[in-house]
Symmetry: C2
Subunit: 505 residues, 2 copies
């Protein structure tokens, strides 16, 4: 019933995953009663439409031969995934609760367990494995050991012949990153041309793909907007499995779920996936599973604010930064320029047990003096300051595309004689992990004159600007207009930051 | 491709929506290129599996008769929805851009528009409607007027015969709530039995259904857990359309989308829908559309914290309260007991242009002295206070299931001679709308000793507790254990609140 499940099922057939066998427990019982109250489609026909081989086992309760035959048939079909629909009775064997929801939602209870044992002719104690069952399974241990030894011997031979390839495979199995990989990250100076962070992200991805053999991924049908293609690779398809550009189609949830699987398969596989930031709403459950399962997926989320312009409020994220800052075990990163985008990728690659979300701009941004990879690694850091003694008149805090605006406002204020510190706040989570001394060196408790500027919900910013500070942001839905115009209309400007700074200091 | 679309398509067939005709523009172009790079399923077969009637128009560019015939066929099929697959060329007629993505993502441009006009033999000025086209369409105006007059006459007759029914229909069309409807809301005293707010919600829903003819809804296969059945009604099904319990199946996004449609259809229709609070992750895009489209859907979200117990971290919301407080035009309500649940429903019913999310407990909660419907309407209010002159030693702020804990902590502190105010903070949005005077009367600026307690992310609470206060909450994923045990383990207790209060005052 859950629609999102259709996404990976469609892709499984598209990719011809012949080794995939899915069992569908067709027991006709849902929590609210017989599935017929809400579910009368033909699952068989639907999966045939998706391109699966479908087998129906009519008696899943006792039809052991039928089940065995179905599995053999499924294994023989090598060009498509197979769905084995198994019609069963839920709670089979329980004399009073079989075929009802009550065996799904709660334990049978001692009395009904006894009655079920009797009914099924199972006279053993709880957790007792009868001798003949043990015997039946016992051949698996030596068989498995033999298979492992065979594989190890094969790999030893392979290693002799193909030293480099074997080392690469080992690094993916062990998750060891190649020494000096981070040197591949591009560096920028304030003289580098202004650019959108989505484009700078593309430069990072392409640089990293050369040194990280496990880096692979793609976009949910927005590769040309998210700028996520690895130029030296082709498309990962049924007949080209060694390529690294995955074409997920318009399937955000499935994309996230697949990347979770890749990340959890081997620690050296580093999956990334991409869509517009606002469409994380379609894949939020998958992202939460990344966080909960400690899967270091890299989420490349472009078009990260009203700055995307004419697509309007349906496409403009507002609450999304706040909503992920509130989610446990997520690194929410919003880089401001080239060096910060490189820094965000460094952090994302190093964090193999914590997913990273990179919020990236559609619009061009200046390369700012003072930004650095090392700064990003601390979450928040000073990019410019004309104060002394850790006592600026005012601290301006910006993230991503608004750091440039904060820097401009600082220039104005300094012209008027103010001592102004500009702080880039790329990641709240990383800053939280710094020492108290470091935090004090960036945001001294004694300085309550603070202004934050971020083109998103101000929810949460009180923590950083305090009751005497001001948070400039957007607490309504966006609007359709060119980026420059909408920024002005919504008051996300250097003038507004200057005015707010004067109010607070 | 988007999986969630499958949900409503499955339900449309289940409900036999014979009037629904969907056109599928089969142009084989997606943003990243030919759809074949990611999409090779048979859409026809899939929809047949869902139970749709499927027609294929092979030439959607110029096959006018074929299109007309398909529409007639679709109208004749009255027991199923129809999908008309129309194979077309995207950008048909454009000599240089037809059949490519470039006609999707950007404007043709003046030169290509000219070339297209020439190619299609359309010699008119922009926006000019030729006389024969105008003439061809002109009969629609008098025909429409005649149909409207006919309907009005029919309704006038109906109104004479069925006064009550006609008034009800009118009230649904106009959105006028019946006078005194809110008197149906149940009232509670501290002596009323302790109860889960999900159960108190069921009492409200059942009381309101008697007085609000437009109230209808249901759950995504969790009716027995969300407690959302209207007991005086049966199931809304193909042959029982007058019933009001909608069985959505396990289809959260589709459920939200359908409720948006109901809410926007007529202002007097008041749809509600339900699932576990954590599963809002599966329907976040639908909820955002409620907010953006000003659809007053009531989201009944039970099992709203770690208090749900053994289902564990996959089912325990942590960041969800914060994530919706950050979303524009949402009313996030977390009532603490019977009176507050009634208050939340009063607010939700009155807000026809703003969706409400009710976060409700699985576990039983005490009926607290001092709670009221009027208090809820203000968002935040004092439920008990032994201070004078608006100068308590400390303010304890709780929401939902933790208000009881705040109240217990206050009792302890008062025994030790402290002047303690307890504030229930049901809705941040409603409190924000109050006057400065009212806000000062509840949370005086001069009192910086504040402690909040909420079994969820502390993200955002700094706004209310300030830099000198303490926010008790949960900034990690949950765990599987009985509610009492996990609350203790995670430090969401009266003892913790007492200790925090002593630290800050």
């Amino acid at each position: 019933m859950e629609g999102i499940s259709n996404e990976v099922c469609s892709l499984a057939a598209h990719w011809g995953l012949g080794k995939l066998i899915a069992f569908y427990d067709d027991n006709h019982i849902s929590i609210d009663g017989d599935t017929a109250i809400a579910f009368t489609e033909s699952v068989d026909t639907r999966f045939e439409g998706l391109g699966w081989h479908v087998i129906w086992v009519k008696d899943g309760n006792t039809g052991y031969d039928e089940i065995r035959a179905a599995i053999e048939e499924a294994k023989a079909v090598k060009d498509k995934p197979t769905l084995i629909k198994v019609t069963t009775t839920i709670g089979y064997g329980s004399p009073n609760k079989a075929n009802s929801y009550s065996v799904h939602g709660s334990a049978l209870g001692g009395k009904e367990v006894d009655a079920t044992r009797k009914n099924l002719g199972w006279p053993y104690e709880p957790f007792h494995v009868p001798e003949d069952v043990k015997k039946h399974w016992s051949h698996h241990t030596p068989e498995g050991a033999a298979l492992e030894a065979e594989w190890n011997a094969k790999f030893a031979e392979y290693e002799k012949k193909y030293k480099e390839e074997a080392a690469e495979l080992k690094s993916i199995i062990n998750g060891e990153l190649p020494a000096g990989w981070e040197k591949a990250l591009p560096m920028y100076t304030p003289e580098s041309p202004a650019d959108a962070t989505r484009n700078l992200s593309q430069q990072c991805l392409n640089a990293l793909a050369k040194v990280l053999p496990g880096l692979l991924g793609g976009s949910a049908d927005l590769a040309s907007s998210n700028l996520t293609l690895l130029k030296m690779f082709g498309n990962f398809q049924k007949d080209t499995p060694k390529e690294r550009n995955v074409r997920f189609g318009v399937r955000e949830h499935g994309m996230g779920a697949i990347c979770n699987g890749i990340a959890l398969h081997s620690p050296g596989l580093i999956p990334y996936c991409a869509t517009f930031f606002v469409f994380t709403d379609y894949m939020r459950a998958a992202i939460r599973i990344s966080a909960l399962s400690e899967a270091g997926v890299i989420y490349v989320m472009t078009h990260d604010s009203i700055g995307l312009g004419e697509d309007g409020p349906t496409h403009q994220p507002i609450e999304h930064l706040a909503s992920f800052r509130a989610m446990p075990n997520i690194l929410m990163l919003r880089p401001a320029d080239g060096n910060e985008t490189a820094g965000a990728y460094k952090v994302a690659v190093l964090n193999r047990k914590r997913p990273s979300i990179l919020a990236l701009s559609r619009q061009k941004l200046a390369q700012l003096p003072g930004t650095s990879i090392e700064g990003v690694e601390k979450g928040g850091y000073i990019i410019s300051d004309n104060s002394s003694g850790n006592k600026p008149d005012v601290i301006l805090i910006g993230t991503g595309s608004e750091l440039e605006i904060a820097a401009k406002a600082a220039d104005e204020l300094r012209k008027e004689g103010k001592a102004v510190r500009v702080v880039s706040f790329v990641s709240w989570e990383l800053f939280d992990e710094q020492s108290d001394d470091y935090k004090e060196s960036v945001l001294p408790v004694a300085v309550s004159a603070r202004v934050s500027i971020e083109a998103g919900s101000t929810f949460g910013w009180e923590k950083l600007v305090g009751p005497k500070g001001k948070a400039i942001g957007i607490d309504r839905f966006g609007a359709s207009a060119p980026a420059g115009k909408i920024y002005k209309e919504f008051g996300i400007t250097a003038e507004a930051a200057v005015a707010a700074a004067k109010e607070v200091c």
